[in-house]
């Protein structure tokens, strides 16, 4: 439907000067994109990927998708990156939003302009499109959005007559009251091993860590909104009003042991919460994430997209598969068939599909997806991830555990990450905006 000759847009690198290395390889994509049959290799670590591949194979006799489980995290991205170098790439791979620009700028992805570009333009809101489009081209198709929400223990809040905060000032107040009500309990968490939530909170406050101007990257990790957020959370952590924990088992242990009674997380946390701490069923509720001025504003923590890596052998069939698993109601249903995922589709039209698959009893019958939808609508547009997120994240994570100890200010952590990021961008030969 959206076929356009790929050959017509052969690596117009000049048009997107910010792509440092561009694409050097041969361009046999023309014929491959036309073909919509054959085998497709599919790499993913997202739960439900096996089910989606099975469902696709059942309904599409001309294409056979071979799903391969891969580990998640930085290890996966180095694996994918090396596969591009060696020419042994899968036809479809999952890439989370923060990592997508890094792959795109290094010329490791096939542009989807000739295949799925129009679909992306049509189906997704601007704030989400911005995460997969770079230099005027489309590099991936969003699967899920991850709008922020506030999770809180309804029973605890009711017993101690604590109000659900609407602004960050009220949030701070809430953390104080939680600690007073139960000296062991905390009303939030500053993750020590995951900068994703911190960046989402700065995004919500109107910060733009990265932007592109013509051919150049502008990096502003420590702009004014970002500093405001960092000072707020750094202070909460230092005063022990929120706990400072790893987002893995220490965090879930604290939830299970009633030591975390409220936290900010994305939509997907609902499923994780329900599965990991099953016996607190009925005790939790969700609310819109607090904002600075009381008006709705949100951001995303997590979320993933699907790409066609450079050198993929069957990009035509790959595009067909990606289209089905991201924008087709049947495909979307296959993702959540297990009934444990609270994944929020990036395509707003598909929200009813995932909503109907997620049981509401854990959250006391509350419509979690309605809160998610409002949050998704309020995502501040304009956010772009950077071209060296591995470096940026490492620079933040190295310092994060020290914030609660009071040795390091959170805003200084961002300044340090700013320097490391700028240095790495220069090191890789990309241009920086003055």
């Amino acid at each position: 439907m959206f076929r356009r000759r790929l050959t017509a847009m052969v690596c117009s690198v000049a048009a997107l000067g910010l792509l440092a290395t561009g694409c050097g390889g041969t361009d046999n994509g023309g014929s491959a994109a036309e073909k919509k049959t054959g085998e497709v290799t599919f790499w993913s670590f997202v739960k439900g990927s096996d089910k989606v591949a099975e469902a696709f194979n059942r309904t599409h006799p001309d294409i056979k998708v071979n799903f391969e489980t891969v580990p998640s995290g930085q290890e996966y991205y180095s694996k994918l990156s090396n596969a591009v170098k060696a020419g042994t790439v899968p036809d479809v791979a999952v890439v989370e939003y923060p990592q997508l620009p890094e792959f795109a700028t290094q010329g490791k992805l096939e542009s989807l302009d000739g295949t799925l570009g129009p679909l992306v333009d049509k189906r997704f809101p601007q704030s989400t499109r911005k995460l997969v489009q770079l230099g005027g081209k489309t590099w991936g198709v969003p699967r899920d959005a991850a709008p922020l929400m506030l999770y809180y223990r309804n029973d605890f809040f009711k017993t101690h007559k604590i109000d659900v905060p609407k602004t960050w000032a009220e949030y701070r107040n809430m953390t104080e009251r939680v600690k007073k009500a139960d000296p062991k309990a905390r009303g939030g968490v500053l993750y020590t091993d995951n900068p994703g939530l911190l960046s989402a909170l700065t995004w919500q406050a109107g910060s733009q860590w990265f932007s592109t101007k013509k051919d150049a990257w502008k990096v502003s990790l420590d702009d004014a909104p970002s500093r405001k957020v960092a000072d707020f959370w750094g202070d909460l952590a230092r005063k022990d009003l929120v706990s400072s924990l790893s987002s893995l088992d220490p965090f879930w242990t604290s939830v299970q042991q009633n030591r975390t009674v409220a936290y900010v997380c994305a939509s997907w946390c609902a499923g994780a919460q329900q599965a990991t701490v099953a016996d607190q069923k009925g005790k939790w509720a969700v609310a819109p994430v607090p904002t600075w001025d009381g008006k709705p504003a949100s951001a995303m923590y997590g979320g993933s997209s699907f790409v066609v890596p450079k050198g993929a052998k069957n990009s035509g069939a790959a595009a067909e598969f990606i289209k089905w698993i991201t924008t087709d109601p049947v495909g979307m249903k296959a993702w959540v068939s297990s009934g444990t995922s609270s994944m929020f589709p990036a395509d707003p039209e598909l929200v009813p599909v995932t909503k109907s698959a997620f049981p509401t009893d854990y959250f006391g019958g509350q419509d979690v997806y309605a809160v998610g939808s409002k949050s998704y609508d309020a995502v501040v547009p304009g956010w772009t991830w950077g071209p060296v997120m591995g470096t940026t994240n490492t620079a933040i994570i190295d310092q994060l555990p020290k914030v609660a100890e009071g040795n390091v200010k959170l805003s200084d952590v961002l300044t340090g990450a700013q320097k490391a990021t700028v240095k790495d961008i220069q090191h890789r030969g990309m241009t920086l905006a003055p």
Partner: protein, 317 residues
């Protein structure tokens, strides 16, 4: 605190808490108690250090054993170093061996092939090569040996990417051979075997064998090889643990989960378990880790005798 100081204050000698600092100037004349105390001190010091080291290595193991016996709820609800309320070890084990059509057993079998068979062959090659470097004369011998030493210097992880690129050219990516073949090469083993051969196999014995009409191959197989048994075990254990622990090479090389070694499989479970709301996978990774260390412990206990004699061999010469 306050009680002890008031009690010891009227005493004629120094206060008890200060004994350490005072004992030096006052305790100079009677020699033996001082000697004894310093010996005692160093003994307790060493014991304490060893105790700490033992704790450092055993505590994670204790956590692993205890956590493996817990139910998913207890895993998060109870202290990591305390037993859980339910004893769920057998449930966890049966879940581990059944999940995904018993993929865990497949991973274990793969690991045994990669590490066991791989290390066995690598050791045979290493011992033969080391022996040849020590006993035989051939042109370019020392130059070749410096190549081997060069291989010792390059860390295994640094080799993973080049190996992957070569394997891609040879079409071995995502096949059994992609991980198995690199494990057959063990330069450090060649170096060790040469040292061992010099120490364990006297030239006279080989002379005698040759006099009796044995060819070079027969002399190696029948005479030298048995004498190199401790070397064999040492090198085998070295390479076995190296392949067993190697992570990055299988990570980049393999994407078919049926070919995964056990550590990569456990990592797949662990890495996405909690972030994606599948805590049962987290528990699987914990129990799977416990099961996967068992063979290693058994192997080391079985081969400990050889291993020890191998460690010190050549130390005198």
């Amino acid at each position: 605190m306050t009680k002890t100081t008031t009690l010891s204050a009227p005493a004629p000698t120094a206060a008890a808490p200060d004994r350490k600092s005072r004992s030096r100037p006052t305790g100079r004349s009677p020699r033996s108690p001082r000697k004894r105390s310093s010996a005692l001190l160093s003994k307790t010091g060493v014991t304490a250090m060893l105790g700490l080291a033992a704790l450092y290595t055993l505590l994670p193991m204790l956590w692993l054993v205890l956590s493996s016996t817990k139910s998913r709820k207890d895993l998060f609800a109870t202290n990591g170093f305390a037993p859980g309320k339910d004893f769920a070890l057998f449930d966890n084990l049966s879940h581990l061996f059944q999940v995904d059509n018993g993929i865990y057993l497949r991973w274990l079998a793969n690991t045994v092939l990669y590490a066991g068979v791989g290390a066995l062959l690598a050791t045979v090659f290493s011992v033969a090569a080391g022996y040849a470097f020590d006993k035989l004369a051939f042109p370019g011998k020392e130059k070749l040996f410096s190549f081997v030493l060069l291989g010792v210097m390059v860390p295994g992880t640094a080799m993973a990417i080049p190996l992957y690129l070569i394997a891609a050219k040879a079409g071995l990516v995502n096949t059994f051979w992609g991980v198995f073949v690199p494990g057959l090469v063990f330069p450090f083993g060649v170096y060790l075997a040469r040292v061992f051969s010099a120490a364990y196999v006297p030239n006279e014995v080989l002379e005698a064998a040759r006099m009796d009409g044995a060819g070079e191959f027969k002399a190696f197989c029948r005479i030298a090889f048995p004498m190199l048994a401790p070397a064999f075990v040492t090198i085998f254990l070295f390479q076995f643990t190296q392949i067993w622990n190697s992570f990055f090479l299988p990570l980049v090389m393999l994407s078919d989960k049926h070919l995964y070694p056990v550590n990569l499989g456990l990592y797949v479970w662990y890495s996405s378990a909690l972030s994606q709301g599948h805590p049962q996978d987290y528990l699987l990774a914990v129990v799977g880790s416990l099961v996967s260390v068992a063979p290693l412990i058994v192997l080391f206990l079985m081969l400990q005798r050889y291993w020890k004699s191998g460690m010190t061999a050549g130390a005198v010469k």
